[in-house]
């Protein structure tokens, strides 16, 4: 398994696309018995969920069901919350990334994240993208860095719009552009997994459509986990869907199956709009 991962990482960095039909099915991340509690309050109960590579996994569920908390376990962003305690195993590349010996900084460079609200650094567009490669020492020369920035912006579908004003501040872009900038920033550190926490909730329908197209494009190269409130969005972009309710994983499966033929009553109630 280890060799396969390394291979795929190399092919990725070389920038060649892979055959879409292969390598889809093995789980990129395997979560086993995850429990999360904030102080005395338990937020997630015993969730086990495999996440496949090169596809989009959508996490849906009503507010407060723990889907964002679960997402943040995958790059250990919950570490920054003092009272938060995570137990269980999250296996990636044969290692339990929840182990205290694992460096969360290294983990986060391999598991990128895009947040609900576009949050570019208060710096130039170029520096926004270049920051990650710089701190990880990915670029040796200025040319390398320029190339990396261009490639990331191209993959995020933003290059044509910003190539003439790379030095203007990142916050000068529109909301949708800012979110794509954040995606480009995440891509620039060459992650294998991208986590998206309601990436379109602050955007208008046109910008949302562009981001969704982009997600569809990105899934050829990355393992993507997206939290969304919009069931239409989950249906449009994801291949697999997991439904959370009150901190429990109610049901998971192929997106088509979840939306057309849910096994659980609660799932059906939720997707038909009876609660949530």
């Amino acid at each position: 398994m280890e060799t396969t991962i390394t291979e795929s990482r190399e092919t990725l960095t070389a920038g060649t696309s892979m055959d879409e039909t292969q390598g889809l099915t093995y789980p990129r991340i395997e979560c086993k018995n995850i429990n999360v509690s904030y102080g005395d309050k338990q937020a997630i109960f015993d969730i086990s969920l495999p996440i496949p590579d090169r596809s989009v996994t959508a996490l849906i569920g009503p507010s407060g069901c723990g889907k964002s908390t679960f997402l943040r376990c995958l790059n250990r962003m919950n570490d920054t919350i003092e009272s938060c305690k995570v137990t269980g195993e999250i296996i990636m590349d044969g290692e339990n990334i929840n182990d205290p010996d694992i460096d969360p900084v290294l983990l986060r460079s391999r598991v990128g994240m895009v947040f609900q609200k576009p949050n570019p650094f208060p710096k130039s567009i170029f520096d926004n993208i270049a920051y990650g490669p710089r701190i990880h020492g990915l670029a040796e020369t200025r040319e390398d860095l320029d190339e990396m920035v261009e490639k990331s912006l191209r993959r995020a579908g933003l290059w044509e719009e910003v190539k003439d004003r790379l030095s203007s501040p990142g916050n000068s872009l529109s909301g949708g552009q800012q979110q794509r900038l954040c995606i480009a920033r995440a891509i620039a550190v060459r992650p294998e997994v991208i986590l998206m926490d309601e990436p379109c909730s602050a955007l208008d329908p046109v910008a949302t459509a562009r981001i969704e197209e982009l997600i569809d494009e990105l899934r050829k190269r990355y393992c993507i986990v997206i939290v969304t409130h919009s069931m239409q969005q989950a249906a449009r972009v994801s291949q697999r869907t997991a439904f959370f309710h009150l901190g429990e994983l109610v049901e998971m499966g192929e997106t088509d199956q979840i939306f057309t033929n849910p096994r659980e009553r609660r799932t059906e109630d939720y997707i038909t709009g009876r609660f949530g």
């Binding site: 790059n75 962003m77 920054t80 003092e82 900084v105 290294l106 986060r108 460079s109 391999r110 990128g112 994240m113 895009v114 947040f115 609200k117 949050n119 570019p120 650094f121 208060p122 920051y131 990650g132 701190i135 990880h136 916050n171 954040c182 920033r185 995440a186 620039a188 550190v189």
Partner: protein, 526 residues
Amino acid sequence: MTDAAPAPFRNEKALKRLKKRRAADTRFRFYGMSAIAFALAALSLLIVSILSQAISAATYHVVRYDVVLDPAVIAPAGKDKPADVARNIDGFYNLLRSNLLQTFPDVQGNRLETRELGDLLTRLAVLPVAKSVAANPTQIGQEMTIKVPLNDDLDLYLKGAVSPEARLKLGTVEQGTETAPGRVTLSGPNAFKGLQSLISAQRAEVGDAVDARSILVTSGPATGRVVSMSANSLEMDLLTGSAADYQGARPLARVIALPEAQRNVSDDQIAWTLALKDMGRISRVPHFSLLTHTDSTYPELAGALAAIVGSLLTMLVTAFIAIPVGIFASVYLEEFAPRNRLTEIIEVNINNLAAVPSIVFGLLGAAVFLGFFGLPRSAPLVGGLVLALLTLPTIIIASRAALKSVPPSIRAAALGVGASKMQSVFHHVLPVAGPGIFTGAILGMARALGETAPLLLIGMVAFVADVPGGPTDESTALPVLVYSWATHAERAWEPMTAAVIVILLMFLITMNGIVVFLRRRFERRW
């Protein structure tokens, strides 16, 4: 449900409510505006009163002496090395004093008058002259023009600050005759009628106290004090000059409200000063020595240089300690420290420290830095340390507020691309919080610059005659200089004190200007 008719927009009750609400609005706006007006009025009153006092210290009077630098007086044999000349204050003083005595030969033989004439010149005022001659010894034996400040009381008299004084131009004097030694009678038809009516008007106002007032009649270099008068003739004691100076002139009469016995300046001194002025030997010049001289017991010689340098050195020490320590403490507390009981106690105590009266910090400084560590008294080093302790809480609180205002999404973004906690703080949070932190730091420094009480306790109130060369030299600071000058009894210190306050305010305004600039220049939006 349909019974209740929809309320019409214009019924009596609604209109009444609207009126009430509008009145409340107007009242509130009026309160706010009057509060602001009151604050502005208080501020402008303060500024106007300080400036109007200080403006009189912006210039002062100097007396010109054209003398020959007689080697026998200033560099007698055996004491003619430059170092000796520089120290020969008595020689230079005698040289200038004898020039005064030559100018007013009448005083010869009268010891009191001789002393009073000598008082026009302050002995120590010749020190800069002695130093400059010593530095350039070829001037010895040559003729030289020397300008030396006028005695502070006479300077104040010329500025009109000694006593209210009524002035009146008299009629033409046809004849001035010396009837007895020093006694002159002036005569002219109706020449003194105006003066008579002025005196009777004053008599109506203050009664017989007017008899104690000096009436000085001046024409050219001559001044006399009125003894008696009628409409056509006036008898007076001639203080300086001669009877001939009045012949055919229209003299100027001065009625000085404050009796001679209650003044620091005698009528004679006023007469001599007016004569020197008439000779063109007194000129009013900008008071640069306020910035270039150090402290002195004579107001006309005193300056704030030592205090300015002392304040700068103190601020330097404070800045070097308080700013880095304050920033690191606030970054640690805000970004890294775990939230537990201990950090809570620390937080509460930092807030309490900010409220501790500054004099307590002075006591602490005296006990710890002077008593325990044995650091030198009156030194900017100790002053800086004490003020650093004083400003630390202010800086920490302001910096933490600035750090708190950085949106957490920026921290999350940095962590999300794999930056470590340190990197996220130093690359992203600090640059955004920077202007706020520096605003807090400079405002804290501005507060420290104006602190007096703690410096008094560590001995920075000492009289310092030399510019401090380093942070361990004896020194004083601007607010302390204000304090010590304000406690002097002589009137001349009043405008000098106001002038130092203006210097201090300039420093504060400059610092606040830097704050505004930093905010405008570096404030970022997100």
